[in-house]
Amino acid sequence: MKTFATASAPHLPGKRSVRGVMGLVLAALVPGVLAHAWFFGPGIAIQIALATAFALGFEAAMLRLRGKALRPFLTDLSAPLAAVLFALSIPPLAPWWVSAIGMASAIVLAKHLYGGLGHNLFNPAMVGVAVVLLCFPREFTQWLPPAGLPDGVAVPGLAASLRAIFTGELPAPWRWDMLAQATPLDTVRTLGHAGATLAEIRDNPLFGDFGGRGWEWVANFFALGGVFLLWKKLIPWQVPVAVLGTVVLLTLPFWLYDPDLHPFPLQHVFSGALVLGAFFIATDPVSGCTTPRGRLLFGVGVAVLTLAIRRWGAFPDGVAFAVLLMNCLAPWLDLHTRPRILGEGKAP
């Protein structure tokens, strides 16, 4: 008689791992990050490195405090992913402590105080963004214009960016006041409120074909990464389709009604963090919906709230707040969108 160790079925090893999923999402962000660096200088690389270091530090500290195993959770790549999404949402030359405060909010507050990986109600990266945006609005407005603007002025290099982030000194001829209010979304808002038509606003060299110059290319590369994730079935198609589709469908009638007052739908899509949000932020599985219909509604909600905040809110972009507000609704949406079980509702 030969004896064997037993186990419960199924007896095949799993196909994926959390680390693998997070790793592929990070890989999908690479083209967008490179494009970001191309147009806005190496600041983004420094911000990513900073945020990742803070994220892992806070993660390790919280795991230790909570008496959890360090290895599986420090290597699951969820903290670095939150850090990269956060870094992509703040100005590339934001001071170093923005990252520290953002990551403390994201990892300590939003993630571990709610029970760690898988238990957070809110998207950690967006909690970090919201805290920084609410507490330090000035630092959040200092965005660099894309490469080539103003004419003849080079984007700060690595050393200059490092000095700016850690000491607050900008290399000549840059001054901090040159950076204020420089994003296309801000420009639309400010000039729009001043009574300018969109055609006049778009004459500003900040604008490209659809969205902001530079920004729209970064968005293209994020979309490329997003399509890769869709192809790999790592994110549900419902969320990006619902977010981007709703934005287009909702803004199209207004634009058709009066293109002078209302931006072209694709200008909305390619401005701010919408593409990044549609593919990488609103698709966070933990804080989003888990049912197919719930995900559609979640995406629609993110789009509607983003547009509402852009139009009427006090902040230039609304993706972070829209996602956080929809996070509140996700459990309720899930509850009411359970898929029909096979054979349910069929007369016996």
Partner: protein, 499 residues
């Protein structure tokens, strides 16, 4: 024919070629058979032989008990060594009576008289299928006769052998497609089905060709071979019906509710042999495969053959043998040792190597990715279901469809957090069933208790009433005193008067 899709499922590496090279091979009769009285869903059969009895091949040795049960026959001539309870491979911790037979040459084989399967009375044919102990050979082991009692419109012959490694139906179809087709026509006659669909997966080209040839030879328009895509778990009854008809079996219902009956191809063949040849079901085709066996193959195995003997037929274990499974890698039962016997519902002995069933990575928290729901053929939300099960909220779990789970294991395989899902669902089902039985018992006990209370109350009331009545009839102490008085007043007769 237009096919439909079922929700979820997985495309898995088939590993069928490993065992199907050598065709159907005979399995040498082992020296001792352990024939279980529970090789089917429902109630165990009652052994009708005793230690020391001589049995013939094909002789009935177990009698079906009740509605859902099946007769058991001896696969070989020989002498009964013992009739004793032994552990069941499929239900660890449970026993069933086994008839242990030392195989020999005498006495001569017994067969039932052959019947005319094309013209015989359907009721008689059904009775024969019952008497031959035919049960579902696809894995569930449901007594076939029980399924044949209700008229249907469509008979589906299930040759969609969806689990990896298992190739017994493939091997059977390659060599005996004609008998399968005859079996299908026989079963269709019994249930009055006007249409028979023989579903075979597109990764089984030889079986498909054999089946098409067999159907062409018959020249019957009512039976058709359907090539279905290979997606696990397409061999599931509900999934196959959905693929072929686009219709869903009602939740909590049965295929009969939509006029369909599904029978495994091997079951159809066994039914035909029982009717046309009078041969009871006492052997079946079993795939013996995996990196852990030396010469994988498909064997015609006498029921009751120990797994160890069967593995010897396949050249014995290799050094890689690490896990012994009865069934496939997705739903099979891991065996602690190889002395368990093969039963009617056991289609595969799979010996996996350590790296194929590598110990699972550490479990991580659920990240709600929903991959489990995307893979679930029952359209459940396994991840939400697990919350309810782990919280002990079994009512909620039942409400959310834990009993709709077919335990296919797809959710386990796709979970990036390596959370075991199927096993907790199995346990939850067991807990709910156990609790239902306990509730039933508690209710019965309370009823008994109440009835006893009422009886005691009634009895004490009756006793009190009787006492009352007796008191009333004797009218108290005066009557006694009067009687004593009378006694004293009357002098004893047989003594002399006082001086």
């Amino acid at each position: 024919m237009l096919l439909h899709r079922f929700h979820g499922g997985l495309r898995l590496a088939g590993h069928k070629a490993e065992s199907s090279g050598a065709g159907l091979q005979p399995c040498a009769m082992p020296a001792v058979l352990h024939v279980s009285m529970l090789q089917h869903a429902g109630t165990p059969a009652r052994a009708c032989v005793a230690a020391g009895d001589l049995v013939a091949a094909g002789q009935r040795i177990g009698v079906a008990q009740g509605e859902v049960s099946a007769d058991v026959h001896s696969p070989s001539a020989g002498r009964v060594l013992a009739v004793e309870p032994r552990a069941l491979a499929r239900f660890p911790g449970l026993d069933a009576v086994h008839v242990v037979i030392e195989t020999g040459a005498a006495p001569a084989a017994q067969a039932l008289p052959a019947l005319d399967w094309q013209a015989g009375d359907p009721a008689a044919l059904r009775e024969r299928i019952r008497a031959a102990g035919v049960v579902g050979l696809g894995g569930a082991g449901f007594p076939t006769e029980g399924k044949l009692s209700v008229a249907r419109e469509l008979l589906v012959l299930n040759g969609a052998e969806c689990e990896p490694w298992i190739a017994c139906d493939d091997a059977l179809l390659r060599e005996h497609a004609d008998e399968v087709v005859r079996g299908g026509r026989l079963l269709a006659r019994v249930v009055g089905a006007g249409r028979v669909l023989l579903a075979i997966e597109d990764t089984m080209p030889e079986a498909l060709a054999a089946a098409r040839a067999a159907v062409a030879a018959v020249g019957d328009d009512d039976i058709a071979v359907v090539e279905v895509p290979t997606i696990y778990p397409e061999g599931g009854e509900r999934q196959l019906i959905q693929v072929l008809t686009g219709r869903e079996v009602p939740r909590g219902g049965l295929p009969r509710d939509i006029g369909v009956i599904v029978q495994n191809v091997a079951t159809a063949r066994a039914a035909w042999r029982a009717v046309a040849l009078g041969e009871p079901l006492a052997s079946r085709v079993v795939t013996v495969t995996g990196r852990g066996v030396a010469r994988p193959g498909n064997f015609v195995v006498p029921i009751g053959t120990p797994v160890s003997h069967l593995v010897e037929q396949a050249g014995g274990y290799t050094d890689a043998a690490a896990r012994l499974l009865l069934g496939g890698p997705m739903m099979g039962q891991a065996l602690a040792h190889d002395e368990f016997p093969i039963g009617k519902q056991d289609n595969c002995v799979l010996v996996l190597s350590a790296d194929e069933c590598a110990d699972r990575e550490p479990e991580m928290p659920c990240i709600r990715c929903g991959d489990c729901a995307s893979a679930c053929p029952a359209q459940l939300l396994p991840q939400q279901l697990l919350w309810h099960v782990r919280a002990g909220n079994l009512e909620r779990a039942q409400d959310q469809g834990v009993f709709d789970c077919i335990e296919c294991g797809c959710c386990d395989l796709v979970c990036p957090s390596h959370i075991p899902l199927t096993q907790p669902f199995r346990q939850a089902k067991l807990a709910i069933r156990t609790r239902a039985v306990e509730t039933q018992r508690a209710l019965a006990a309370r009823e008994r208790h109440d009835a006893r209370g009422q009886r005691l109350q009634r009895e004490s009331a009756e006793r009190a009433e009787r006492d009352e009545a007796r008191k009333a009839s004797t009218a108290g102490a005066d009557a006694v005193a009067a009687a004593l008085e009378r006694a004293r007043a009357t002098p004893p007769r047989d003594t002399d008067p006082p001086p």
